[in-house]
Symmetry: C2
Subunit: 293 residues, 2 copies
């Protein structure tokens, strides 16, 4: 478990959720060390879901390295995820704050329910824009939201910042997830650390395709549906698909929607005290949207 845990930790990742938590904590003038502990808890919860997701998706590569399930098998990896979930809760319990525990467990339930919903929608070509938004809110938005809102529970007088911080996190999470889904379509394999069009191959329709499908003719739509259903490029080529995405400008439209969520996140910040930390939060969406394609 130590070896596998270390391997997963060393895989890196952006540590975006704890980073947000720490910036918000400083913004609110908190000077203790509970934020560091909760940052670790949130990253552990996030890692637990990644580890189980990779089993579910039969993913073999993440962040340019073999996934835990590829390296140690599904058996140990199921338990690694369980252990991360439960130990993260136990660490949060040591801190003894029930309101924060409720915030974290609610976000975690939403995430798992989002995964279940995603599984149910897998290989389906009939995903509405609304279903997609609900899915990414659960899968990403709620934990981002919890990370940002959490420090507002450190003291009663900070509670008035809870709603705007939760809203900031939720919108930033949507922005982040849309860009992440876009990268899967537009980035290079070496940049992604996993194969391009992974989502589609796993039968997952993301925003660009949800926007694209109604714009396509019957034959083209069938070609996309075939990839979603079979997980393979048989009747069509990745390059062809990319040409359709360009032709119908849905990547540009997806980026605009991500930017719109970024703007919403920034708008939520007006309720917070002006500070260098607030400025840092305000430029976060820009960085996310400018991630290399």
């Amino acid at each position: 478990m130590q070896k596998a845990g270390r391997y997963v930790i060393e895989g890196g990742g952006k540590r975006l959720r704890p980073a947000l938590l720490l910036v918000v904590s400083r913004l609110l003038g908190y000077t203790g060390d509970r934020d560091v502990c909760y940052g670790a808890v949130i990253e552990m919860i996030h890692t637990a879901t990644l580890v189980h997701d990779d089993i579910i998706d039969h993913a073999r590569v993440r962040r340019g390295r073999a996934t835990a399930n590829d390296r140690w098998g599904n058996q140990l990896t199921v338990l690694l995820g369980d252990w991360l979930f439960i130990r993260s809760m136990e660490i949060a319990l040591e801190m003894g704050d029930l309101a924060i525990l409720r915030l974290l467990s609610r976000a975690t339930v939403e995430m798992v329910e989002g995964e279940i919903l995603g599984l149910q929608l897998q290989h389906s070509q009939d995903i509405s824009y609304e279903q997609y938004l609900d899915l990414i809110r659960r899968k990403t938005g709620e934990l981002f939201s919890a990370a940002c809102a959490l420090p507002s529970l450190f003291a009663p007088e900070l509670e008035r910042y809870r709603q705007p911080l939760a809203e900031y996190g939720r919108s930033l999470g949507a922005c982040f997830q849309i860009v992440d889904d876009l990268l899967d379509v537009t980035a290079s394999e070496s940049r992604l650390g996993k194969p391009v069009f992974s989502d589609l191959r796993e039968g997952k329709l993301t925003l660009p395709f949800i926007l694209l499908l109604p714009r396509l003719g019957t034959k083209q739509r069938k070609a996309v549906a075939d990839v979603v259903a079979s997980g393979e490029f048989r009747a069509t080529e990745p390059a062809e698909l990319r040409a359709w995405l360009d032709e119908h400008q849905v990547l540009q439209r997806s980026r605009e929607i991500a930017a719109e969520y970024g703007r919403r996140a920034v708008e939520a910040l007006v309720a917070l005290p002006a500070s260098p930390e607030r400025d840092a939060l305000a430029i976060a969406p820009g960085y996310i949207i400018e991630r290399e394609y």
Copy 2:
């Protein structure tokens, strides 16, 4: 999730852990309804581990029916287990008792660590008696212990019963698990609801075999080792194995060890007020040991 959840619930099971919790609660004179809620939580935690265990063991049959993983696949079943774990914690959180939450999460961590340890020892022929006892304490004893000790946290004046109740549960859990391991060797398939010698086929050495191996000659030991390593009866037959178990009286010896744990459980009860409920707890080991072989 509803459908899969209902299926797992309808699979039945003995509901031993919530039953213990409810009897102890009544024994301590508790009249509220928190015990019912925590009983549900404990059964959900137990079910979550069963569901993930069946994935890990590639089990296809439990309680005479197809396992969740056999019916809905590993993907949904990983998420079903996650959902049960986290929702159970969330329900316990609603009750708002930190000490009880800590008791439950500690027992759950022990259980998952027990599963990990079990996986590590899988296909190994070198499991000591002590390792086996540690394994069953983690896998079974700690949740039994938590179920029994939990109602002592309902009121400060009940805390003095915590240690004896925890000890009762831990010993009863060991007794139960040894009998369960025995049944896998001695019971009929129709009685078990799964194939006989399942543990051995899954590469798990249980008490009868741990006692048997040092008593066997090199050739016989090799035959057992082959089943543990390969998961198949190739060089030997189940009937032959059973003959060796009989010949060396290790089933009888295992039953005695289970009975010894049963006695320890009963001894712990002296610290509790005499009552019909205490009498009920006192006869529980007898029922467990007399489970049909």
